[in-house]
Symmetry: C2
Subunit: 415 residues, 2 copies
């Protein structure tokens, strides 16, 4: 893509009321626009990143047998009353609205009950199970405050998956598979080395629930981490018994700040009991369905990556989710030979399947370099009159540049 | 995909309160689920169709210079007050909700004003124009009644594009390009031959506005159509003068029912004047921006295709947006040789890039054929013990089947 075609511009200053680093950087670099506190539009660069995160998550959910659907935002109250969650003293993040005839509706803060009810239309026998159903859907949560940028929005994109099994044993078998799938997601997002599965709760939902926590000083959570065993305990459920129960030792645990990027929990029979979900077993007997729930905030994951992958100049995207792979900086100053060479490089890389943002704008080199560092595309290639036949190549994450041929460049990109 | 993996089942009866044919067929075939009147969930088959329609529209919008973004559902009231559209006597389809602190918010029924305000953050000079910005975003419209299935929902997916030009001339140049892009979209959706550009209005928005109307007896609109000239006039603006103005002859016009599948209109300076949108021209003078608006309801387009492409047995999808290209029906009755052969065909077609739904369920042939006709995948291939080395092939739109080899099958699919 030619940068002259991109309508967004970088900004030197973030809006004054924006206190989170992720939103500051993403707004300054033109990835998002603040519509309201806690509600952000995704502009071309930001949407590209979101779609890449979404695709990674989709592939991992499909790999463990997931089927993708898309539920609605508007929800009837009957189902939530049945589940005991319509009352705002129980769920305090509802946005509610009214039909013309006065009927109250809710804006989806979650979907386990509606998805379960929908599934019951298509399910009867043990032969119809297991099922693993997921979606990417906007959630609405009426948070009192919203100061964490795209990490905690009032409107945000979430992948939620629900598992339906005939037995507790099968539920927990799938639960373990989902843990692996989630680990794969964070590895592919480039934050696997600092993201740890964390024991989060041992009471409400059966055996336990788990979070995935990414280490960060700006995190709202505190965890006790055993780095070697790659497991942590959330502060909220931390106790001597819990440490012992997990076979850990207090002296091996670090107390650190972290961001909750995902959570999974075995709902077990809780929703089935509330809504009367059941299947008919081999003997013709009605049995409850065993459920699990698996969530990742897609926009939150994007915000988390920005929080942990940046320097004083801007964002440093991992290759897997970068809006483009290469930022091609043309320093032509009206020299047509340079423009021609930049175009050749652009075409050649594009033909090789490399996504390139070509800065063909007629502005100074200093502005181009500053914009490039702020936007954070992983590989920078400069074409100028000085460099003769070679290209000046630099990784966003490194400081030294080097001069390379086109073939050498491709080798570097393939690494 | 193996059909045994698909969680949806077909139904013999549609819900009794569902009067529209599109929703009846789509619910019975397991493409959608009714959550509320006017709000439907998209199940795996339905989501596949939606994504294909979306991709066709995306490609055509990108081809005329569009840049994709994604706005928010929650909208502040200030901007709409400024535009004079917050008042429910002006816009009577608002859903509204409240933040915890009592601040009123609206659920997006449209986005031209918020997108324009966002763009102003990134635009200043004539050098920054033109811009063509689009999105696929859910719209919320608080319709009094909702009985047209996914053709007129209270919550539905829409592609909306907005054009920003420096002059009236440039606006109308792009407007003509958009007409062609829209024509391409409906050709690719398989309804180009019965979809006509229709003069819709000559007063509110400058010169005129246009709709794309698809011929259908269930349509809510009436148009006067000149089939030869491929142009129509909406009943609402039909007059002797209009006929003359367009160079048409009354005797050549058919009065027919139709479905409005898209509309485009030159906003001209209306939004700019209301919101104070401007750019600085070459001479340093402030000038108003010339806007256009271009909408296609994605879910409405899907519903329209179902309304016009069906028979008494079910849906007949065009290849371009079918959930799968081939429905592979395995009639094994426990015969492992047949299952093995079906698997070979499945693997071979998949390797050729053909999307196949493989009905590997252990149920009777009658049910399989009925389901296949209801679901409406364009090509049906039967593998059974009877057919020896040949495959029984039939198009969904035809009645006669024939026996073909694998290579002959591929030839047929490529046509």
């Amino acid at each position: 893509m030619k940068q002259s075609h991109l309508f967004t511009k970088t900004r030197k200053e973030a809006p004054k009321d924006e206190v989170s680093l992720n939103a500051q950087l993403l707004i300054r670099a033109g990835f998002i626009n603040k519509e309201l506190a806690g509600a952000y539009a995704f502009l071309p660069l930001g949407l590209r990143v979101m779609k890449k995160i979404e695709q990674i998550v989709r592939e991992e959910m499909d790999a463990i047998g997931g089927q993708e659907i898309e539920m609605t935002t508007l929800q009837g109250k009957e189902i939530w009353e049945k589940a005991g969650k319509w009352d705002e003293r129980v769920v305090d993040v509802w946005f509610k609205t009214l039909l013309k005839n006065g009927t109250e509706l809710g804006l989806a803060f979650s979907h386990e009950e509606p998805i379960s009810m929908m599934l019951m239309q298509h399910m009867n026998s043990y032969k119809d199970l297991p099922q693993y159903i997921y979606q990417f859907q906007t959630k609405f949560r009426n948070e009192l405050r919203s100061k964490s940028g795209i990490m905690r929005g009032r409107e945000f994109l979430m992948k939620d998956m629900y598992s339906y099994n005939t037995s507790k044993e099968d539920l927990y078998k799938f639960y373990d598979k989902a843990k692996v799938a989630y680990k794969n997601v964070f590895d592919r997002l480039g934050i696997g080395d600092i993201t740890f599965i964390t024991v989060a709760d041992g009471s409400v939902f059966g055996d336990s629930s788990h979070e995935f926590q990414t280490l960060s000083d700006v995190g709202e959570d505190t965890i006790y981490l055993d780095r070697e065993k790659m497991i942590a305990i959330n502060d909220e459920v931390y106790s001597d018994e819990k440490v012992k129960e997990l076979g850990l030792k207090k002296e091996n645990l670090e107390k650190v700040k972290s961001i909750e990027v995902a959570n999974i929990f075995p709902i077990e029979k809780k929703v089935s009991d509330a809504l009367g979900l059941s299947y008919i077993d081999e003997k013709g007997t009605k049995q409850p369905i065993w459920m699990g729930s698996y969530g990742i905030g897609i926009s939150r994951a994007m915000g988390t990556v920005v929080e942990v992958k940046n320097d004083e100049k801007g964002i440093i995207w991992p290759e897997s989710i970068a809006p483009f792979m290469v930022h091609l900086i043309e320093l032509s100053n009206g020299n047509e030979e340079v423009t021609k060479k930049a175009e050749e490089v652009y075409k050649w890389l594009t033909e090789q399947g490399v996504e390139v943002l070509w800065d063909n704008r007629e502005i100074g080199a200093g502005v181009k370099f500053a914009d490039s560092d702020l936007i954070g595309i992983p590989h920078r290639v400069v074409v100028s009159a000085k460099n003769e036949d070679k290209l000046e190549y630099k990784k966003r994450s490194e400081t030294e540049s080097q001069f390379v041929s086109l073939d050498e460049l491709l080798q570097k990109l393939k690494k």
